[in-house]
Symmetry: C2
Subunit: 160 residues, 2 copies
Amino acid sequence: MDETVPNYTFEDFTPGRRFDFSKRTMTADEIIAFAREFDPQPMHMDEAAGRASILGGLAASGWHSSAVMMRMLFEAYIDGSTSEGSPGVDLMEWKRPVLAGDTLGGHCEVLDARVSRSRPEIGIVRMRAEVTNQRGELVAVSEYINMMRVAAKGADHADG
Amino acid sequence: MDETVPNYTFEDFTPGRRFDFSKRTMTADEIIAFAREFDPQPMHMDEAAGRASILGGLAASGWHSSAVMMRMLFEAYIDGSTSEGSPGVDLMEWKRPVLAGDTLGGHCEVLDARVSRSRPEIGIVRMRAEVTNQRGELVAVSEYINMMRVAAKGADHADG
């Protein structure tokens, strides 16, 4: 990542454009470590408690799945981009449990994009992310806003 | 936490009931550690990059603020309860930046609660959480579902 060489800028986010996620396997150790810090419910900390719960096994906290999705988004398009962060998410659904050993993947897609009326140097991009497991089942869905700076005037950018 | 002695069960979640959060100060170290793992954008990793961004300082990833909110919820009412987790959130807004040194607090409140039609041993509780900073400014808001088991028949529970 080199902040002086932005990769994607607002202009790259045309409706329908997709960015694929890299695969990532969730280990029991990282599920437990996240839970210990942020969500120490028994089904996120202990295999037997997870099996006894409606989740059916040692299951990642939904917020852990969301944080992993964030990392996937970072690697898919945010790294090196003009992203200025997000004011929030319109939708965050945890559709199925994410269990220890599951391999996650998926993609995100541009829903729509417009330049901010009050801050014309900032574009407002609405995205949808879908996280799937190794059986192709949807485990998490999010729709969220990503603020991206527009390309600097005179910058050497393919779409500028 | 003692799994054999549930504290709150579904019956405790009456609309309007509030649970206060404990205070927690966000350190630069923990902001950077979370960002390194899940959201390594420059404004979450570096003070100067944060000041140069629209966030105005070294700022926690929104997903970090959400994870800290989860921990506050755990301590406020989930620990020892019959919580069975959540299918997702209807709303997750990051209203203001959470900067290194900010002290977070707030509360959550029951919006409504009903027993599941398909699984009468499970109650569906809708909650709203508000996270504030040391100036009383709202930094994060969430509305989400929490599934809670109903009190076991014959269990020694105040509302059972």
